[in-house]
Symmetry: D2
Subunit: 342 residues, 4 copies
């Protein structure tokens, strides 16, 4: 049975990535695409790489008839998303890709995002969309909150280690490098080719990046005590990919075993042979996440490195994976594309 | 019915691209992968981005049992290919991606490639693999010769114009820019990141590039007279993509109409609205070719620009399209992946 | 004797490049830097790569005391430049980097730029700033108009050939590829890293690029008859560099000799050995221009390829070269930096 | 007085960078360039970007007359360097850019490099070439050992902090990202543009990178006790630049003050305002090193980030700085070039 899909905010990168993936999905059909400022335009004008697809023109959200939509992806900016979703039909299944419903505590939300939440009841209802760890809740959820792309990467490394109790909780360091598409299609000087290519830098140094709100929430819940990690993101001159290098105290073999045990049956998470570490080249354009472990020459210290594509597994691929769960479809539908290398 | 596939020379870029595409094919199964120097290795070691696939290990060609293979892709180096194919079973369907069978005239081959052909009978048998123009011959062929990636791009522009008689034949200029993967996985100083990125240059200037042999053969055959074009390739600091800018004398509207008429029913060739020209960004990782036409301010001069992915439509995608034809499968199977942007 | 310099519009790329070059100049000192919207900021905030230099803060143009300024570089946007220069002291030496004074004919200006010129008397006074060809006029000029970066590249190839009468004038084709810094520090979607890197495209196809106005003016003047060339610019995923591939009819040896004769004594223009063609890698960050010639396999056709750095020889380096001439300084002062490779 | 210079191993990247810098030096003249395999070739053939310079052709080392050479830069591969230097005149001043004389302990050398040292007496004589910290020893040295580029970056961050006693010594983590030119001009698959661009990865994970030998030696000497840090290098898709992100325990203000105090008078090391962190964009092609400090949200934790150009401050610029010291010249001669941005 065909599932009818709407994508709200289809003129950004996560919107385009959703369309790219859904185009290969055996049972989803895109019925509506929204873009407030570009309403009326054919999608081929906004994203010429999708011109071969038979897609509806962009419309305003207010002009979408949701009565025949089975599920809506909401790829709108933060703050806008909560306002829009609050006005959508209460029985519509929704996967939100914004940051608006990731934090379940209104105070934590206000602290990290600088404004009170305008839809606190929806915030309570939303299920955190890390598919591999909230699979059952997602299956029965109406509203799923896609995770931050950095937040997903860090959790793929650390959740199994915290659960298994194989690492110290007070000296975790996550040094992460993210591709520029993670910043979206926004016109900022530092995102220009001339300013970004051929160099790199850290940003949000010292514990100010908003994805820390997700780490705090999730790791503390898992550990049953407050956990605060150090996290430094870096902006890299590539378009897709996150590589996270995580420094932990603990026995490297135990760390490795915990990861292998956790992910043995997962279709998208590959734990590499002990001692090998991954490259973003090898997950680019795909929904796969590669994780590798190495022991350090300093006893009792281990390094875990994870690589994924921020637009796919870190965002739109995760969203589609969640939608598959919510609609009772095979979880891997539309998501088995091999990475595009070179 | 499942078609059993062998890929000879699976450790290069066109081999990897074939595997990436075939992984999405509904009725092909890869039964054998060869790599002489890497025989015995799992493919995941050679191409970690394909590690999620269930594939046979690399073997030597001599160790492949061809009795249950329906079709072999031959992604071997030039000269090697003709020697290998000469020893394969005479009833095995073969798509060759090398240059060895593109020129049907042994003298032309010897002139462009600097050595006599060692399998002249096969050379005669081979069908030129430009799917859109040799479709019927390919359907019944046993041995198909994949075209050069630059040669394919230039022909997508020029064949309809020559056939329609809408351009002059004596002042055609093809200025072409090709991505580095077109040079294969070879260890050459000028292919190093440090030498290639952040700059660009022309090469084989003045009419010495071997793909000119294909242009000469095909355009002269089409026109019924000798046609010699000027062709300058450039090496560009990207991994995938060819953009060809072609300067012709003729009426731009007539040129446009000829292209529209030729490609109206083609699934992979998109003629853009008059005046728009394509970008390689919008075909990257896909089997599509975008073509655009503009009239020049100088009356009677037109510019035609085409973009495709050299590894896909220019090579492995074309090969798969030909294989589909040879095996009686739907021509677009495994080839409808949307481009990967950004 | 120290020459006091002002740079108007110092917060753009050509402004930054002027500062980088002047920092190595033995007899120039920067006394004033303007930036209307960033007035009051130290330059290190706008361009952290220049933080080691002892430079004045940015100010508004209206706040500059021009009485002790010997020469002003004007790196302002088109249209703004003519308005600002009209109000500057009439005896101030000025090198303008904008397009405002490149065309000497008010009608040609209006046609190419879409608005009437607001300072027609200055337009008449301005000398065209192609140093190698207007050296004597520049020495005695008060106002010099820097050329377009593409226009400079094309003229370095074609002026000697037109002057020497060794090529046909009715079938000149200039296929040019320009780095993204040529578009300036402007916030446009197609200049974002995510949209520009890993691909390439043509633009202003069909004879609509404004630098054609310069070609028309200069080539027609040189030839003593109307000359119209075909010119297609392409946008490339690098930050610096122009490569122009020029197709002409004529004897390649005669073409080569004309170039060698013209540039034998020029410090910045290097004609490569016959048959070699240049790469932008080898001029990056420098004021050099490399030119190479090849004969085509088609008799009577030649290809000339030129490479330069659009920000240096194509813009700020040219401007400094002109300023040296105007101030009676050695022409190469501040300009002999070797290219930065890799 | 002109100083006569020889560069041994001039056909690699550090050789080319030395020539680029020395070309702007007021009192050095290059008298000999060696390249064993390319002996007899003009340098313009090996490095066309240096073709405007008047340089001697490449020769074999055995053919150099060292009697009129004041100082030789040795830019040869590891192991070769110690053999060559052992045969050079004993009174020739030498700056070695290889790893051969960085470690003063023969056992440590054998452990990290896997073979016994063949010139132990020279090893004892050599002064460690971190200019800012061994200035006086370098002034009177005959043989100076250039540091590893990663090793220099880490030491610029950590030496002042260890000396000032403001950080813990047992939990230092250095997460470092290095450009590809750090790997030299070697033909390896992972250095190809098609394999390296558009992605990134860690390597030598777990404490196996040889530059750790330098960290161990220097930090232990400084601290008066054994110090072992965790160090993970990453390979990044740019040609120049190192960014090191260092995680330490200590008070961020004290860390900041220690850096400011150390580098207040240094011409090449810039400590950014508290809270700002650097970018490799802003040091590219220059001898500058930018360092920034941020406090973490976790009390007692600080992050220090340093950026430099691996080929300049990390290698050839450092070498020239040392040569200036050895020859009694102003330390900054030939080294004040501004970074090349964009």
């Amino acid at each position: 049975m065909t599932q009818n899909i709407a994508i709200l905010g289809a003129s950004g990168y996560t919107g385009a990535e959703l369309i790219r993936l859904i185009a290969t999905h055996p049972s989803m059909q895109i019925k509506a695409l929204s873009g407030e400022r570009k309403a009326g335009q054919p999608l081929a004008q906004v994203f010429p790489h999708l011109r071969h697809l038979d897609l509806p023109d962009l419309v305003k959200i207010a002009d979408i008839d949701f009565s025949d939509i089975d599920l809506a992806f909401c790829a709108l900016p933060h703050k806008t998303s909560q306002q829009v979703i609050a006005k959508l039909p209460r029985d519509l299944k929704i996967v939100d890709l914004s940051a608006d419903f990731r934090l379940s505590d209104p105070e934590a939300y206000a602290e990290w995002y600088g404004n009170p939440h305008s839809a606190v009841d929806l915030q309570k209802e939303a299920v955190y969309g890390l598919s591999e760890f909230y699979r059952e809740e997602i299956r029965s959820a109406r509203l799923v909150a896609g995770t931050g792309c950095n937040a997903a990467t860090g959790q793929f490394i650390l959740r199994p280690l915290i659960s298994a109790g194989v690492i110290g909780l007070d000296d975790i360091i996550l040094d992460l490098k993210c591709a520029v598409s993670g910043a979206g299609r926004s016109l900022k000087e530092n995102l220009l080719h001339a300013e970004l290519s051929e160099g790199y830098n850290a940003y949000a140094v010292g514990g100010t990046h908003r994805h820390l709100g997700e780490f705090d929430q999730e790791f503390s819940k898992l550990a049953g005590r407050e956990v605060r990690i150090q996290f430094t993101p870096h902006l890299l001159p590539v378009n897709r990919g996150i590589l996270a290098t995580c420094y932990v105290s603990g026995d490297a073999s135990a760390v490795y075993e915990a990861l292998v045990a956790q992910y043995a049956a997962e279709p998208f998470i590959e734990v590499l042979p002990m001692g090998e570490t991954p490259s973003t080249h090898h997950v680019r354009g795909s929904n796969f996440c590669h994780i590798g472990v190495a022991s350090d020459r300093i006893e009792g210290r281990a390094i875990v490195v994870a690589a994924l594509d921020n637009l796919t597994k870190g965002s739109s691929g995760q969203a589609l994976q969640n939608a598959n769960l919510m609609l009772g479809l095979p979880e891997t539908d539309g998501l088995m594309l091999a990475p595009c290398f070179p």
